[in-house]
Symmetry: C2
């Protein structure tokens, strides 16, 4: 997902800077003249324009000249774009000229990435991929660097309110004298990153979380858990992990970081707080949210409600006959307490993806007898291999040494169109398949059913399409390959008092059954908190509409419902991995800031709902 896109055709043989300058000159002239056909003509026959907020007040990918024209018809006048300028010399590679640029709109400033190449069909150097992103709102620039706050109030002021007093007063006023413009339900990495961005933008916002301390979402997990993504990929906004931070942070270390990040970034955050009920009033454009704050009922009235409860929705707990008679322990993987109570016990784990492997591994390390029940195929990639081949060009020490920054890496990543991303993933996963051939052979020899995604495009596409169906191997797979963890294949028929019986009659003795059976769509939380009606209005969350397993079409173009306007006014979804939390929190925060500042946000292409869950 991180390599240079390499198409079949190249650009005409001109100095890249001259080429790009000429393209931008023509493009901008067309835009200024409101000549949409001319602007669309700057694009290749097969092309993609991804706009994050700047033009569309949405996260939007349009395709080809037709898509570009349609989008501009609705957005060009209001956006009033100008000032397209490269920010460093463009580069050429394999026939593609890549250019970093900045631009302005009526209300903001943006950055983007352009890829030009020779149009096969119609000739001429045209845009193949075009990314425009809103970076800041004019008049609402973040107080960073030269604009950082002074901190000290110089002078002698008998009415001085110190920073601490000010923070305490703000804290006490929520729900009493002041209402948050945005209420963020869920204070994990997503809620925290968004909270930090909103704070920076001056949007009155409050993050609520049911745990006792920020970071507890991590602390409470099974003891061997570490991050699966490497550090360079994981930074939070504004405050990166230091140079001595481990590649894969242990859960407690991440918990500590999140706790103090919340504090030093001054994220308004209420722990031990649950959201009980929420209802939207269309007329006032306001939510009424009943919360329980550490035992105290309260009501908050935000204008916007963000569900940041985790991109994994509600646990899918299966309903097998006999679950009511089973005498041992049974729980969904999300409620698994860890292995300590199960030394010497027979443990059956239903499922074969990430949670299943982690839990099987931890149980085995603690001397349990473990059987994994695989019901469908799983895509496995070794952690080191993924880090090197999958992420290394953008997120690694070598990337840093080559001059890549986190901010640029995020934009490069964002500039790769979802529609064709799989084409660029497939060769990477072919490499991974090759590098770890011996491992894969041994897994299959042990009876494990492997896949590399429906189309061989591997882990990241699986993640984007369905958020599941894979395991980033940090060692537990060897246990299956070796037979240390036993493997059973097939669907579950029923449970008895002390066994799990598969459909083929296999009986597995069990003291513990763990249902590592995944999660539903995030709108399940909305159903609980708000109503089924609203959950259905919003529809399925996550996925691209790729018409692959668990990601039915039609093609969405972007992640369903994530970080952008939904069909329910005032309701938003925040989440994803640490990379997405870092990057996409910016766009969600800007959309919320614009609303708070009274800046018009005419949304182009608000996605219709095709699936309810």
């Amino acid at each position: 997902m991180t390599q240079t896109l390499e198409p079949d055709t190249g650009t005409t043989d001109t100095d890249p800077q001259a080429l790009v300058d000429a393209w931008f000159a023509d493009f901008e002239a067309a835009l200024k003249a409101r000549d949409i056909a001319a602007a669309a003509d700057m694009f290749a026959t097969r092309s993609f324009w991804r706009d994050l907020v700047a033009f569309t007040w949405n996260l939007t990918t349009v395709e080809d000249r037709e898509g570009v024209a349609k989008m501009l018809e609705q957005t060009l006048e209001g956006t009033d774009p100008s000032g397209f300028t490269t920010t460093e010399p463009p580069t050429e590679d394999g026939g593609v000229v890549t250019a970093w640029f900045r631009f302005e709109t009526a209300v903001g400033r943006g950055r983007g990435l352009l890829r030009l190449r020779l149009d096969e069909l119609d000739g001429g150097d045209r845009a193949w991929t075009f990314l425009t992103t809103l970076h800041e709102l004019k008049g609402h620039e973040e107080p960073l660097g030269v604009r950082r706050p002074l901190g000290a109030e110089h002078g002698a002021n008998p009415d001085r309110v110190t920073w601490l007093e000010s923070r305490e007063a703000e804290e006490a006023a929520w729900g009493v004298e002041t209402q948050p413009f945005v209420l963020v339900v869920g204070g994990g990495q997503g809620g925290i990153a968004l909270g930090a961005r909103l704070r920076q933008l001056g949007v009155p916002a409050l993050v609520i979380d049911r745990y006792a301390r920020p970071g507890d979402q991590w602390r409470g997990r099974y003891k061997s858990l570490c991050l699966h993504d490497p550090v360079w990929y994981d930074h939070l906004p504004y405050l990166k992990f230091p140079e001595n931070w481990p590649v894969f942070a242990p859960k407690d270390k991440i918990g500590d970081w999140l706790e103090f990040y919340t504090k030093v970034m001054e994220v308004p955050y209420w722990s031990s707080t649950t959201a009980v009920n929420a209802a939207y009033d269309e007329e006032s454009g306001e939510w009424t949210v009943d919360i329980d704050r550490d035992g105290q009922p309260m009501t908050l009235k935000p204008k916007h409600l963000v569900m940041a409860t985790g991109m994994s929705g509600k646990p899918n707990v299966p309903d097998f006959p006999g679950m009511d008679v089973f005498k041992g322990d049974q729980h969904h993987s999300s409620r698994h307490p860890g292995p300590d109570a199960y030394r010497g016990k027979k443990c059956v784990v239903i499922g074969s993806n990430n949670s299943a492997f982690d839990i099987c591994g931890a149980l085995w390390e603690n001397g349990a007898e473990v059987t994994m029940v695989q019901r469908s195929s799983t895509h496995i990639v070794k952690s080191d291999t993924l880090m090197d081949i999958g992420l290394g060009d953008l997120y690694s020490e070598r990337a840093l040494e080559a001059g890549m920054t986190t901010e640029k890496a995020d934009l490069v990543f964002a500039s790769l169109p979802y529609r064709i991303m799989h084409e660029f993933q497939i060769p990477l996963y072919d490499q991974m398949r090759e590098r770890d051939k011996d491992f894969y052979d041994r897994m299959e020899a042990a009876g494990f059913e492997l896949d590399f995604g429906d189309d061989g495009s591997g882990l990241f596409m699986k993640y984007l399409r369905r958020g599941s169906g894979y395991y980033i191997d940090v060692g537990a797979a060897e246990l299956v390959a070796d037979g240390e963890v036993k493997l059973a294949r097939g669907e579950v028929s029923h449970l008895t008092e002390d066994t799990v019986v598969l459909q083929d009659g296999t009986e597995l003795s069990a003291d513990l059954v763990v249902y590592a059976t995944g999660y539903g769509s995030m709108n399940g939380w909305a159903a609980d908190l708000i109503s089924q009606e609203v959950a259905d209005t919003v529809g399925k969350v996550w996925g691209l509409g790729s018409d692959t397993t668990k990601d039915p079409g039609p093609w969405e173009g972007e992640q369903r419902n994530m970080w952008k306007p939904t069909q329910q006014e005032g309701l938003w979804f925040m989440g994803g991995n640490l990379h997405q939390s870092r990057h996409y929190s910016l766009y969600l925060a800007l959309q919320l800031k614009a609303r708070e500042a009274g800046i018009p946000t005419p949304t182009y292409g608000r996605a219709p709902v095709h699936h309810l869950r």
Copy 2:
């Protein structure tokens, strides 16, 4: 202190890179041949070589060819330096060629800064200032960047010890199964920065602090307190303040950062712990330190003891007749609880430096009647002015934009010889005097006695020479200029039940007397903890021997006893402002690491003691 040094004479007219390359070629050849006279001859008639650890295992400044020769006679063979190479193109300005370089020694790698100019007397381009610093020890490179720890333990391991378990076990073992190689007494910014560096270098070290939480040293101060140095100057090692951090952080924000930093940098730190007694055994080369850990007595046996109790030593509480009969509140400024209890009260503050002004300002803001008693002159600089003119070229947004980094700024700063620093400060303070002329006139019109240091060299020299005698004005001075805070001049004669009586007979009614009367030398803490004998062995801490007020000669060349070997084996002093804590913690940590790793550390020029306090 931050501007380019501009001497009278220039270099010969040659390309700077060629000039520097030639100089280093000759210098290195002389060093390799052990031709000390030839090496010394590379230096100008008036020149300075400052070595931080690399050659001298000390912080050392030698002067002129004679000083260079003497130092090399003792250190050249053991150091075995080589590989002097520029790390970027040298620059020329006003006749001085400045070159960043790296080099190696037998045991380490270093970085430095060279300034060449045409030697007035003997001709030729010679070294005017030469800074060599040890940056890392071979075989003990810090696990940063490409060497950062993996974090996760991949594989399946029945004996897995998680990160959390490992940290908890380490914590429980101190003083029981393991002894710290280094015990750091005092957990403010100095102890914390050193603790982080030692952790990085793998030196078993423990920081103990009497407060309940890291950062409490700041939280417990008067409520309006903010840092007086701007953020770019204040970063801690490894983890810089983020871009949105205020210029002058309020005390509680700094407290939170220090607490956060201690945790995420994994500094082994015991709060609520006081050091009760310490004694050194020469034979075993070990300290026996009795501590009180949250009520529990314990004994630790470190090889090295670092006093990080603050460069302000024990409070100087004066002994005026009548203090025993005074009926109001009286306390040293370090024990001042803040202004809340003194609304409407008559408050007399003895002293006119930083603490006095801060306390007078806070009292005034809270509606007290305040009189400041000035006993000797004070140097005042406005905060904005100091930040701009004093620090701006090295530590500011504009410095960052010009390509300056914190690390380079620290080395530039370190490369300015203390001996001549005042010459470069004087013009800066002339500028400041000019810029704020109106303010200074009004202060003097109000009767305040101003100075700009004994030789007009201003605040930073006062700080280096005596650590006191100035006020960085953040607004309280206006109160004196306006007469809102009354000013009395002269020495105190005695107190009565309710007045302070000055030697000229002036009677000042008082409900509160605050003795803003400064602090003693840090070795006062050593006297308390260890013995007066050891305190006298070590002698006065801080100051340069400049033969100015409170900094008697002879010339020391470096800060007395700070961050380097003292006359008491195994006893070290750590401290200074945030800049010094950040930078000099590196050199102290490397010296301690070398001892822990068994690397020979033949110390050149361990400073003799000229003053006891």
